[in-house]
């Protein structure tokens, strides 16, 4: 079976399977928490027009940070690192690796299935957030263009992080999740604020560089842009694309050559 056919079979099977999994339901719920907060803020805003904090402010100052610096990387970590590890833990790896299919099709098929699913989870949450902010002004919605740009960049962030964590999951088991968490909350959160070239060693730098530009007077995304010395959109896109391809190629290489020992092998 060639790579393309095998990829299709793996993708379809795991997309359907993951759609009804407990993990997906949990992430759906988590991604709706920001929506809930916004709904409450919006209700307060509508019932008390003189309130200091509007839903639009919460959305622009907090929710996007929640999504881009927390929810997306965490979702990518748990889905990405499980691509190989869940097969080892459930001992189902044997079904896949004793099939006459290229091993890279297993990595790539599952990766695309999980990215798509993660994208649906995140984007539905974001869309509902956006809808909540604009619920009383549907005719003249604010930040429409920025919102759609953000959806695209958010999806790109998901792809980049998940590729990285797929590689991490192919190399190591439980330690991969710990290392991933350290990466998200340590490296990414600190190094992105370093001046000069250093910040370019984070994924978040390239993601933030692609976020829609807004003037300083506008609160939208201002916090996200803090201390950012942005690279150009084209450069960011090229770097992220190369990063994703390299991470997936490395993950496929590791998976092809590494021996995964199930607990009861003797």
């Amino acid at each position: 079976m060639n790579l393309q056919e095998a990829f299709k079979e793996i993708f379809v099977f795991f997309f359907k399977q993951e759609l009804k999994s407990k993990r997906t339901r949990i992430f759906f719920l988590i991604s709706f928490l920001p929506v809930l907060i916004l709904v409450i803020t919006k209700i307060v805003e509508l019932t008390n027009p003189h309130t200091d904090v509007t839903a639009a402010q919460v959305f622009s100052r907090a929710m996007l940070i929640v999504y881009i610096q927390f929810l997306i990387p965490i979702l990518a970590l748990f889905f990405g690192s499980s691509i190989i590890n869940e097969e080892v833990d459930n001992k189902t790896l044997v079904f896949l690796t004793t099939s006459p299919i290229p091993k890279s099709s297993i990595v790539l098929g599952k990766f695309v299935a999980y990215v798509l699913l993660g994208g649906i989870i995140v984007n539905i949450g974001l869309f509902l957030c956006f809808l909540t902010v604009n619920i009383d002004q549907l005719g003249e919605m604010v930040y429409v263009k920025e919102f759609f740009s953000f959806l695209g960049v958010g999806f790109l962030a998901l792809v980049a992080y998940m590729a990285l964590f797929t590689l991490l999951g192919a190399i190591m088991k439980k330690a991969g999740v710990v290392l991933g968490l350290l990466f998200i909350f340590g490296w990414e959160n600190l190094v992105q604020y370093f001046p000069g070239v250093t910040q370019k060693f984070t994924v978040i730098h390239w993601i933030k560089s692609m976020l829609p530009y807004v003037s300083e007077g506008n609160s939208f995304l201002r916090i996200l842009m803090f201390r950012l010395e942005p690279s150009s959109n084209a450069e960011s896109l090229v770097v992220l694309t190369i990063f994703v391809i390299a991470a997936l190629a490395a993950a496929s290489f590791v998976f092809k050559n590494k021996e995964y020992i199930l607990s009861d092998s003797v």
Partner: protein, 308 residues
């Protein structure tokens, strides 16, 4: 007959733990029983055969080709692992169908193959039930269906009868024998001698990672019959029983356990011992609560053979 599997000086370690050591074998079509106690290295050997593990030393070839990461070869091999493994959220049909598709069959062919495999293991009626709702025996049969769905030339079965009810044991054994008649190569690993015995006479004895003996099963049977057996009899008349047996030369020792009315005999002729015991029970109308052989297992035979 030409060997389809060639193992030369095969060794595998898990860190400091020995999996198998210096195994050299040539396996021809037919059923080969891989017999050994738990932890002997049977599963390691099968996993090397199906490309799950890489040997540290030595080579393994199937149909003249190396195995690890040789994905094209896997269309000719079916593997039924020992451990429980299934996609929890799927039905039996979905899992077997998925495997059929991964073997390159189109949807129509895959559906036909899936139906045939599931039918062979008697799961057609429960094919749409979620696997997590299956009993242990049903899950075991599903694993077997998964291994045979693409009609492989080589079938590797690790403890295939575990958890299967007696009726289906007979049917699965029959299936395995039918495969052998079709000139396929089947390796069945088990730690239970009678399980292997009903499938084949041709066995490989494996112990502590090494091939200890191979050949006809009667050789093993003879070894089992000659090795000292421990037999415990629980009876209120255990002392009378012992008194009646004490003069027999094939009873080497006996020991009383007054706390539970038990006497334990050691004999080196098990068949003669049981003939006598049965006769005495009938003739003297002895009340017997339990007859038990504490060491009547493969481990005891191996321990005896390796001189422990």
């Amino acid at each position: 007959m030409k060997a389809v599997i060639n193992a030369e000086n095969l060794s595998k370690w898990y860190g400091n733990v020995l999996g198998i050591s210096e195994i050299s074998l040539e396996i021809t079509p037919g059923i080969k029983g891989l017999l050994g106690p738990n932890g002997a290295g049977k599963s390691t050997f099968l996993k090397i055969l199906c490309g799950q593990l890489k040997p540290n030393i030595g080579t393994i070839t199937i149909f003249g080709e190396t195995v690890f990461s040789n994905q094209a070869l896997f269309s000719r091999i079916g593997f039924c692992p020992e451990h429980e493994c299934y996609y929890r959220g799927n039905t039996g049909w979905q899992q077997v169908m998925f495997m059929a598709k991964l073997h390159g069959f189109n949807i129509k062919e895959a559906a036909e193959k899936t139906e045939a495999a599931i039918d062979k293991v008697g799961l057609l009626e429960s094919k749409d039930k979620l696997i997590r709702e299956y009993s242990l025996g049903m899950r075991q049969r599903l694993k077997f269906a998964t291994a045979i769905v693409h009609e492989p030339e080589i079938l590797l079965l690790d403890e295939p009868l575990r958890g299967i009810d007696p009726l289906w044991r007979v049917k699965i054994v029959q299936l395995i024998k039918e495969y052998a008649k079709a000139d396929k190569t089947i390796i069945v690993a088990s730690h239970i001698l009678p399980e292997i015995e009903i499938m084949t006479d041709d066995i490989i004895l494996i112990h502590q990672g090494k091939v200890f003996a191979q050949g006809d099963i009667h050789y093993i049977r003879d070894l089992m019959d000659k090795h000292p057996h421990m037999i415990s009899v629980e009876s209120p008349q255990n002392r009378e029983l012992a008194a009646m047996m004490i003069d027999k030369e094939y009873i080497t020792t006996f020991q009383f356990h007054p706390e539970n009315n038990k006497v334990t005999f050691n004999t080196n002729e098990r068949d003669r011992f049981f003939d006598l015991l049965n006769r005495l029970i009938v003739e003297h109308d002895l009340e017997i609560e339990e007859i038990f052989s504490p060491d009547d297992n493969l481990q005891a035979v191996f321990d005896y053979l390796v001189g422990k």
